[in-house]
């Protein structure tokens, strides 16, 4: 049931990400309304729709890295909020990590997630516990590394990462934000899930699902 994580998979992943983001648009907006400016769903939907339109319009890029690089550039240009440079950097660093590999194996899957996380940290300078998307990406990175070490295949690595991102997103709820707009709220930011951590969980979940893995 697993499929090779090649350029075709990367395109499928982005298509599914766009679909799930669109489906969760209102929910992401509501999460952002509580502790931000109520646009994360709109920002993400706009960005991923544009990324899909771009992929569908041209000849499909030949490697996973080429797909992710094109997605990065499109997100950067179209999202309009913090998520633009953050996800833009994440996909760009993932692409750079993958290089010209035709297919992503378990180690590459884990490495790509870690590279994305490192890009987000470099861009936004948030630490773990600051109640940002980093709090989904960091556990995802750690889970992917652990899974790889215990011999999981690529799709199992993605499934482990997705499950950890989901837990990480839920775990942002009691936190007090220290980065991004939500930090303006101080203690009032506690009790709400971080929208960027939630969108991260969604996107990693469809990565795993399109790879044929089951997310726990």
């Amino acid at each position: 049931m697993t499929q090779p994580l090649d350029a075709r998979w990367a395109v499928l992943w982005i298509h599914e990400a766009a679909r799930v983001v669109a489906e969760n648009r209102a929910r992401l907006i509501e999460l952002d309304r509580a502790i931000g400016d109520a646009d994360h769903g709109e920002n993400m939907d706009r960005g991923f729709s544009a990324a899909v339109a771009k992929l569908d319009a041209g000849e499909a890029p030949g490697t996973p890295a080429a797909v992710l690089k094109q997605v990065a550039m499109t997100l950067m240009s179209t999202v309009g909020g913090a998520a633009g440079p953050l996800y833009g950097t994440a996909f760009l660093r993932a692409a750079t990590f993958l290089g010209d590999a035709e297919e992503i194996d378990a180690a590459a899957a884990a490495g790509m997630i870690g590279a994305a996380r490192d890009g987000i940290v470099a861009r936004g300078k948030a630490e773990s516990g600051d109640k940002t998307m980093v709090d989904a990406w960091t556990p995802a990175t750690d889970a992917a590394a652990t899974a790889t070490q215990s011999g999981a295949n690529a799709s199992e690595v993605l499934a482990a990462a997705a499950a950890a991102a989901r837990d990480g997103a839920v775990a942002t709820e009691p936190l007090i934000a220290r980065k991004g707009r939500a930090s303006y709220l101080g203690e009032r930011s506690a009790g709400h899930r971080d929208p960027g951590a939630e969108s991260t969980a969604l996107i990693l979940q469809v990565a795993a699902e399109t790879a044929g893995g089951r997310v726990a």
Binding site: D39, T78, G81, G84, R123, G180, R181
Partner: protein
């Protein structure tokens, strides 16, 4: 020539307003607004645009350097991202100022109008006192 300024704001109106305000005291300085998101055909949404920031830096760069002022954190991230995509030659002439947007822009514009070099214009932006 003189150092140019780029005004990055989440709001198109703020960016344009800062340009008109600073221009009064710095008629010879290139002041480029990069406000709001530039997508679609409707009015600019609130947000920042990689493409607008990139284009504004190109407009403001006359060779003596560019100082970029930003409003909120995500404008800074967008600006930093744009900087990473500049040619190394252009890149070394561009500085991000950690300054109050309106107050820093006026101070920096006056400094640039006086023909000061890049580092002094950055200093003027960052040292601008807020009103009162």
């Amino acid at each position: 020539m003189s150092v140019g300024l780029v005004i990055v704001s989440h709001s198109e109106k703020i960016a344009e307003g800062v340009v008109e305000l600073a221009a009064q005291m710095a008629p010879d300085v290139v002041l480029a607004a990069a406000g709001g998101t530039g997508d679609g055909t409707g009015p600019a949404r609130i947000g920042t645009s990689f493409d607008r920031v990139q284009a504004a830096i190109e407009r403001a760069d006359g060779g003596d350097g560019v100082v970029v002022l930003t409003d909120l954190g995500s404008a800074v991230m967008t600006a930093e991202m744009v900087l990473e995509f500049l040619d190394p030659g252009a890149r070394e002439r561009v500085r991000l100022a950690q300054a109050a947007l309106v107050e820093g822009a006026v101070a920096a514009a006056v400094q640039a109008q006086g023909g000061s070099p890049l580092a002094d214009v950055v200093r003027a932006a960052e040292g601008a006192v807020v009103s009162l």
